[in-house]
Structure formats: C-alpha cells, structure tokens
Amino acid sequence: MITIAKLSGAQALIDSLQREGVEVIFGLPGGSILPIYDILYESNIRHILVKHEQSAAHMADGYARASGRPGVCMATSGPGATNLVTGIANAYMDSSPVIAITGQVPREMIGRDAFQEADIIGITTSITKYNFQPRKASEIPKVVKMAFKIATSGRPGPVLIDVPRDVQVEVDEMEAVEGLNFARFRQVPPHPLQVEKAVNLLLNAERPIILAGGGVILSGASQALQALAELLLAPVATTLMGKGCFPENHPLSLGVLGMHGTVEANKLVLEADVLLAVGCRFSDRTTCNISEFCPDSKIIHVDVDASEIGKNRKVDVPIVGDANQTLSKIYEEIAKRLVKREDSLWFRRLQEVRAEYYGSETDQDDGLSPPKVLREVRNILPVDAIVTTEVGQNQMWASLYFKAYKPRTFITSGGLGTMGFGFPAALGAKVAKPNVPVLDIAGDGSFIMTSNMLITSVNEKIPVIVLILNNSMLGMVAQWQRLFYNRRYSGVKLVNPDFVKLTEACGAQGARVGSINELRSALLQALESEVTTVIDVPISPEEDVFPMVPPGKGLKGIMLNALKTSSFLAKRVARGSREVYDS
C-alpha cells in the first residue's frame, strides 16, 4: 500500500480539502468537530462563520451555483448537522454540488443516544447523492476524493461526510487516493442513433421549441443551445432553474415556462410539434397538469441522469447524455443539412403572440408595482450581476420581470422552494464572485427567516444588496387564499420589524424607498457601498402574480388576472382585440 504520511484524521481532512482546491468553508463549530476546527485555524482555508447552519448550506450552494465549483459547509454533530438538512435537501433538488462535513460522536458512542448525537447518515440518505462515515482516519483522503468526484460528476448534487470525533483525532498512515476506480463516473457520449432520430425530428419539425433546464447551465451548454436555436429558428423557453441559460433579450427567448410562466412560453409550447427538452425534468411547476402537457407533440428528452427520462413524462426520443455534448452533436448534424433559417411561419407566430400580449404593455401605475421595480433593477444592474431570489411571489415576479442574460446569474430555489434561501445564497455567490454585484430579490416573509445573516455579511465583509418587496404578507399563500379560499387570510399577515433599523442595528445599511427615483438612487448607492444594503420597498398587500396556471390545471388553463381566464381572453383575441392584460 502506498502511504502519504502519518496524519490525524482532522489534518487529513483539511489537507484533502486543500488538494481539491477548497478556499472557503461556511460553518459553525461545536463539540464534535473541534479537532477539525483546530486544524482549520492554521490552514489557508477561509472560514466564514454563519449564524445558523442552514445558512452555511445555502451559502455553499450559492457559492457553487455562482462559480460552478463545489461549495463546502461544516457543522457539528446533532443539531448542527440537522440544521444543515434543509440546505442539503435544497441543493439535492436543484443538483448543486455541495459538500457537507459534520462532526459525529466518537465511534463507540454511536447508537447510544449520546449528547448531540443524530443519525445524520440515515437522515440525509435520501437527500444526498451519497454520504460517508469514515470509521478509520486512514480512509479520509479516499473519502474526500470520492465525495468531490460524486458531487461534481454526471448530475451534480450534495455529498455528506460525517466524521466521528475520535476518527478526527486518530493518527495513522493515510491510504493513497491513487488507484481509486472512477469508471462508473465516466461520461458516456450520447447514442448516435438517438441523436440521429432527434436530428430528423427537428429537421422536419414545422414548429420546434426548445425547453432548457438547469442542466444546460450545469454543463455549460449555453453557446451550443443558442447556436442550435438560431439555426432552427426555434423559440427557447426555460424552466425556472434554466433561467439565464439563454439570453432573455434574445428574439427567440420565450422566458420561463410553467405555473407562473410567461404567456408566450405557455401558449407556444402547446402549439409546438416537436419539443426538445434538455437538462430538465418535467417538474409539476413547469408542465402543470402533465396529462395536458403537449399531448400531441413529439418529445426529445436529453438528460445526463437516465432516471429522469421517462420518470414524469413518456418521451419519443430519449437521449442520455451531457447537455453540451448532445446539443453540440445535434447542432453539428443539423448544420450539415440545413442553412440557417432567417424566417419561418413559426417565428412569425411567435412575434404575433408577443405583440398580442405584450404589444402595449407599459408601466402605467405611479406606485411601486413589482414588475416596475424589477425592470428598474434590471436597468441599473450590470449584465453580469448575480441575482438570487427568495421563494414565493418575489421569486415569481423575478422570474417574470427580471430578465437574466447569462448562465449562473440567476440563482433560485427551484425544486425545494426554500424560503430564506436567497440571502445566504447571495452571500455565498458574492464570496465566489467578489467583483460582481449580487442582489437578493426578497419578500419580507422569506428575508426574516435568514436575516440574522446580516451580522455575518458585516463581520465577514461580504456586501450584497437585498431588495425586499414588502407586502407585510406571506404573499403567495395570501394570493392562493384570495383566489381559492375566499379571501380567508389564515396565518399570512406579518407584523414586521422596521427593516431599516434592523439592518442598521447589524451594522449594515438600510433604505426605504417610496418611488422609482428613490429606488434608483438607493440602488446606485448600494452598488458603491462596502456594506450590505437592505432596500425596503413597500408594495400593495393585494398584489397578485399573474399569469398563473391554477393548481391541477394544464398550461392552457393560464389565468392572466384574477377575473379573466385565458379562454375569455382567447375570445377577445379571436375578435381581433388588441387589448392586453394589465400588469
């Protein structure tokens, strides 16, 4: 056996993390992880102290999504570990490479309900790609190597390493990491016959559409996607997770599809004869009622995770493969046989729908409506600025009205829908990209969940901007109660602290704005600020997010406002009316 050196488990862990290129760990120490913190003290790895472990996991997640490199979080055993759970589940649902390291009680105490013991291996088995509990210090270099390999290969995801306290202390000769078998992680190229089927379908399609998900971002397939879309003149809708993988100011961009998707995405996807879905999983928030989702279209599904193919929707051409590799291959084959399309009936149809619904869309209101606020934020932020969101109305408004132009610039909790994600994720993103402005589009309900991280942002000098769309409500729940529960507002009214004072008490900067002009100057000031700025934007508590597909309905059940359904609107369109819905 080749040996590296005689090290303690803790030394081996920190050493292995450095070998993986880890520069920063988000964490909070405790009894069972003291030996690791003791080694961390003298290492080059930066430690960022959080106020609650959930935020450590979200920071690592935000860091990973902004940079494309795995994010590392750390916590002690028991409550420290269980506090990570929401953040790990969030990373799992959104395929984010997060490495979670937890302390554990000493080996001989495991199973005895020792102080601060929790079965974190059992707890996280279904929300991690894998988890490890090294039983000997000598295993640690191998375990860390495998953990990073697993977290970053294929479809990325979180991996947890649970290290018993005595294993951290144990000194031994380390097992070599050379010779580990990574054969199972080898990326298999897309099957040529399947690619050929896809190419033929796309070439013969009259109304092709591309649905691009988070996998396009993860595999760095944006360029290939854009090239293919332009070649075919195929409109591109994204999932919420895919937002930013295709520039939303591109003439072929339909925006986000789904429950709160754009009208053009939701309408045109139903009209497509061939749908190329890539790096997405046909989630219920994207397809709405799946039985009514493109029942007559041919569907090509490209995903790196074979289990996603056929899981939610039967498809005509399944292709297991990396998004970038597969899209490039499809592009290559089509380019041999097709001259880049400059015009098509289908493209004109897109323009027609766009004119129908958005032709006269203007910001007429004088107040601070969310669409108006978010368009203004977009105008002020540079193109490469990173935006995170919380969960609820703020997120759906961001999805609809904040246009993202680049991959990894729109970070949101898509699968798990974790309120409180946006702020720590913004801080993590800022750590990854210190020279890029980072802004969290927040709601008051979500922000309060992790607002204690203001302290971390000040102490660790991580300046971000938080824009609170403040309606003193758990707004999305209130919207459902307004629409489907006869306005019985059960448990949704919030009595908030003064966000400006709260922010200032933590040493950050607060502003409350009452007009677009004030918003503009607050944002410009925030962009220059060396501390985090929280901008409180009071909005109407009655404001709904529309369009909306009511739960259980198919995409064609899209509602454009609280009163009129799309069938009503369809009639108006049929009569040639140029009226559009008022935002």
Partner: protein, 167 residues
C-alpha cells in the same frame, strides 16, 4: 423502449452490491422514498467477499421496473443490475412452516404431504410439526394451501433467490 416484454407481472431484479454496512438500508430506503412496492428481497454473500447479491421481486409494469433499475443504478454501492427472465432462471425459496398437530392422523398427513413436496420435517413436538420446503414460490404456495387445511401456526419464508441458467 421497455426492458421486459410483458406488463404487470413479477419481475426479478438481481443486484450486485458492495458488501459494506448500510447498503441494504440505502436500497430499502430508495424503495420507500420512490414509492416502489416490492414483493420480496433476499440478501446474501457471493463468490467474492467484497460483493453481496440482492434478489428483489416486484410486481409492476415495465415503466416501473425501468425506473427502479435506473434509480438503483444511481446508488454508488450498486455494482451491477440484471433483470432476470423467469423462463431462463432458476428460482428458489425456502419456507419453514409450523403446523398444529391435533392427532396422529394429522401427523401422518403432514409426513405424506411433505414427502410429496420433497420437504423435510425438521422439528416436532407433541402438538406441532415444522416442515421445511425448498422450491419455487409457486411450489411453496401450493404446500401452504394444503397445509392451511391442517392448521398453520407460523410461517417463515426467506424470499426469492435466483440465478440465471448456463453462462
């Protein structure tokens, strides 16, 4: 593309896994989490000490089995998955059946039934007999049917294990 050619029947999945603590938990947990309802699972060592073999039977359509195989293959400890074609597979299960013995007629009935089924009486007391039957699940079920007319006290079955013919 279906893996098997018939719908909604018993499928046998043979899974080679790493022989380490916690692997059975990961597999069982996956079935629970993904809502797969399995019929039986049996686990045992193989010719190589670093691997164990799990034999899983489940009823379901092809799509369910396909999804099960895909999900199983994501578990890092899973080395190889084979779907066994029942026509070309040797299937065996072991059952221990404890029966009430009320009189000597029943005692001799049990002896003759277990002979017919090539079973063995492995234990007996004044008021009970325990029979061991090895065979396909159908054979065991047939024995249980006749045994239930006598009166079954307890049953313990191992679940199915299977191996492909030839090769």
């Amino acid at each position: 593309m279906s893996i098997l050619d018939s719908d909604s029947e018993a499928h046998i999945v043979s899974v080679l896994v790493e022989n380490k603590p916690g692997v059975l938990y990961r597999v069982a947990n996956l079935f629970r989490r993904r809502n797969f309802n399995i019929e039986s699972i049996s686990v045992g060592p193989t010719e190589r000490k670093e691997f164990s073999r799990m034999t899983i039977t489940l009823n379901g359509d092809d799509a369910t089995v396909e999804q099960l195989v895909k999900q199983l293959s994501k578990i890092i400890d899973v080395v190889k998955i084979s779907l066994l074609n029942p026509k070309n597979t040797i299937l065996r299960e072991l059952a221990l059946i404890k029966l009430h013995v009320k009189d000597s007629k029943i005692r001799s009935d049990i002896l003759s039934y277990s002979q017919i089924f090539k079973g063995k009486v492995v234990d007996t007391t004044e008021d009970s007999m325990t029979v061991e039957i090895v065979g396909t699940p159908e054979k065991i079920n047939a024995f249980l049917k006749i045994a239930s007319s006598i009166g079954i006290k307890e049953i313990a079955r191992t679940g199915l294990t299977a191996i492909e013919r030839g090769g």
